[in-house]
Symmetry: D2
Subunit: 287 residues, 4 copies
């Protein structure tokens, strides 16, 4: 009974072709599904088609999991990639942190208030500072120290933990270590990072110092998928806040916290709602 | 040859029913049309369906005007209201002004740069101040003085002019007179007004004075369709700008000009691109 | 030694008169104080002068408390009101809450991260929902149920608690009760409230419902000092976020939480940093 | 009589020292001047002091020009640099343009509406497109073609024109040529440029193409003083606007026009109001 109230969200992408909107909506309609939302985009230059479509399958039809399987087959027959998600499905999220706790708390508060439809299954840190507060949220905390010498072993340990907790999404909540290519490939699932600048400006270390030195009038934050190239992954969300000559580097750090929290939480929310399609070095966000 | 590159944009609305997305896109696909954009919205409470769909009709099919007629018939068979527009069609716009010229210039510059796909066919004013500059834009200017005593006659004169110039859209670019119900009914076409506050705050006269007295920290501007109730029509676009105790009423007036220009131009652009559906006291804007 | 690193912040206001800037800075200079910041404002119409001035008193001069007393006397001789605060002084804050916890957590996180230079001395609620989490922050929680029948007694109890905890500032973090005139007078200290609309639009109950009905394109939040007239007190800070026809009332509620948190925390921070002067129904915020 | 209503605005900067606020305000007070605004800033690291102070000199004192000379002497005695301006003084502005006219019109409209307190004395362009419309504004237009071969001669010609028109400020309103070091040194007065990105991101050519390729979620514009290093001068003002995957490069170009106009006009206004102090590679803007 509750299962039949579930909606299915599909993210489709692939080579543009005539009649895709009609075909996909026709398939759902023919099976007595009810389309709730449908949004599509065409990249005219690259001739790629993108669609996010959300529907309630027929109450007396297949169970949702089988319906998803059938839709996947249909999408394949159209030569389209597809990611499907049931509304009742809660992704399992791991959080990587160091010492800064503002993004960390934002994720927990968002999860508890229902804005982030997920389960936070573990927190992994290279420091012990946030052990207590993580436990007060009722979530396991694992301390994995990272040094130049032990980095490969530490990443191996992290990968094992991510597998053990069956993690769907890794969020770097101001985690102050760079993840290696081996780690990213080994994990093989999405990783969202928050960088405290308006990328591509001020990539790399100490972006608030860089911003202060350059005398910019706005500071920014960027949430992006992590890729092997530092601060270069597909951007999901960005925002800025106005600053002036009066702000010291320390002021920028404090002022930037709200931005970082807001931008990271928004990006994670969109990801969890199956709204983000990666596409080369860019994203399509159906918000 | 050029006609076949035209796209058709349709704005549909009506009682929600199963399969609308599939049916409409199927109709276009069956006639070898190519959907460029499609966006839809459902008001779950009111059970109303809204759609904006843009497509290129088949090059070897009907001419676009006949295709639009066929689509209208199809929409009627689905019990949907529809507004169609060809991309090559340029709406005829009349501008009502008084003495302030910032919104007036914005419209002309937007029209000339191609952002506003329209033809400005006449400027009508209750003052003579902008006669010269209107003529320098190559557009006829008509002075229709308005007083308490002559208002009905003045509005009659205005209506005649709007009919004579075959106007599709009237834009009140800080026109400092209230249009009567008779005028609005008599014209029978859309009227866009810019109000210099964040409605519903500070409706009526002297909104910057009201804002200054209340000590708000943001000032706003609102573009809306004019209805018989002053400053109460469906809102198309709003924006705000930050102010502080340092700003005098005069500062708010100056600072607000950029807001008013931006918000009005945006609303007119959306209207001209057939993106706005009025719906009760609200709008659906497919941007 | 540490005391000499303290700075004094003074907020002055009073009838405008010639030479005030020179006199006040001269007084500090003559006593070997070092002015760090000075900001002033003149209301030309009302002929009122406002100043915020921050300085380090001479290391070998009076202790800061005596220096403040001396400055108060000097300000009185100029016929100016003055509020002084030492940078080492941490205000005692009480938080009133009901069931919503987003503003509540924001205040605690802000306090812990150092953005809000205060001590949260107690949380008082008409519900028991937040008892546990308050205690996990190490702060006393007092449940004071409020009904139509017991309101005077409940407010009496609240006033006793505020006195007992020697509270300097009361923050209503989405507290869903109206405070009576008697309560506000009895407390006699500042009360900051967060209202979930862009005041003066949508004062009173259910502002997100009102906003949804009106079809506005931006939602807002307003932090203001509470006065006997509901949602009418001097505004400290406001902000807005963009919404569209796609947002249901529930979406507005979720989207508004970030706004409410941000706006309330900012207002409380400015108040704690002695940056806000109330002035009739308005504020001067030296940010 | 009118001269006595003039105010003097001084921008001071120099090595920080004790008592500067008191000394400067004391000097003005002793001569019966009336301080209207005073704003100061200290760079704690560099130990530099900055002040903008605006006052009405005593009606029965020296004429304003002599008063300014006296103030200059006083500032020199304090070892401070100073720029003074009378409120009745209108700077002479030259505008460099190519073919894009949105920033060009913005400057003229701002000048005519009084937001930009200046006189536009000439328009110089490497193309002839804007000759007619410049003349319709009643301002001389000079066509100075620029090619790789003739650039030194063209710049020589431009410098002569700037001298002939006694220009105080040069504004590059989307002028599509790089000014040489020789030109900038030869002119020796401030040059404001608008760059159509959020610098330091996307410096150099075709920034909207760069932004589109990178998939940023915000586009920006930056007004800065031109220096020999391209797009590297001290930033006066920046702003951004939200974009999405739906925007083509052409959409970014259109959307960016409003940003460019707004940001450039704001920067020019601040400069004309003597609000901007250059300081290394940065600016202090007393807004």
């Amino acid at each position: 009974m509750t299962a039949t109230q579930d909606t299915i969200t599909a993210l489709l992408s692939g080579p543009d072709q005539s009649g895709l909107v009609a075909k996909v909506s026709g398939w759902i309609f023919d099976r007595d599904g009810n389309i709730i939302h449908a949004d599509q985009h065409r990249d005219m230059e690259a001739e790629v088609f993108f669609q996010r479509i959300e529907w309630t399958p027929a109450p007396d039809g297949l169970d949702p999991v089988s319906e998803i399987a059938a839709f996947r087959d249909y999408a394949a027959s159209l030569n389209m990639n597809v990611e499907c998600k049931l509304s009742s499905e809660r992704s399992k999220v791991a959080v990587f942190v160091s010492k800064y706790d503002h993004c960390f708390h934002e994720l927990f508060l968002g999860q508890r208030s229902g804005e982030l439809n997920c389960e936070i299954v573990c927190v992994i840190s290279n420091h012990e500072d946030l052990a207590e507060v993580t436990k007060s949220y009722g979530v396991p905390f694992v301390h994995v120290p990272v040094s130049k010498a032990n980095k490969p072993q530490a990443e191996q340990k992290q990968l094992e933990l991510l597998r053990e907790y069956d993690v769907d999404l890794l969020v770097m909540a101001r985690y102050m270590q760079i993840l290696s290519d081996e780690f990213l490939c080994g994990f093989g699932k999405p990783v969202i990072n928050i960088h405290h600048s308006f990328l591509p400006a001020f990539a790399g270390g100490r972006p608030y110092h860089q911003a202060h030195n350059r005398g910019v009038k706005l500071i920014g934050a960027t949430a992006h998928y992590a890729t092997p190239v530092l601060d270069d992954g597909p951007i999901i969300q960005q925002d800025v806040d106005r600053v002036s000559h009066r702000h010291t580097v320390k002021d920028l750090v404090v002022r930037g916290r709200m931005l970082e929290r807001h931008v990271l939480a928004q990006a994670v929310r969109w990801h969890l709602e199956n709204r983000v399609l990666v596409y080369g070095r860019k994203t399509v966000v159906f918000d």
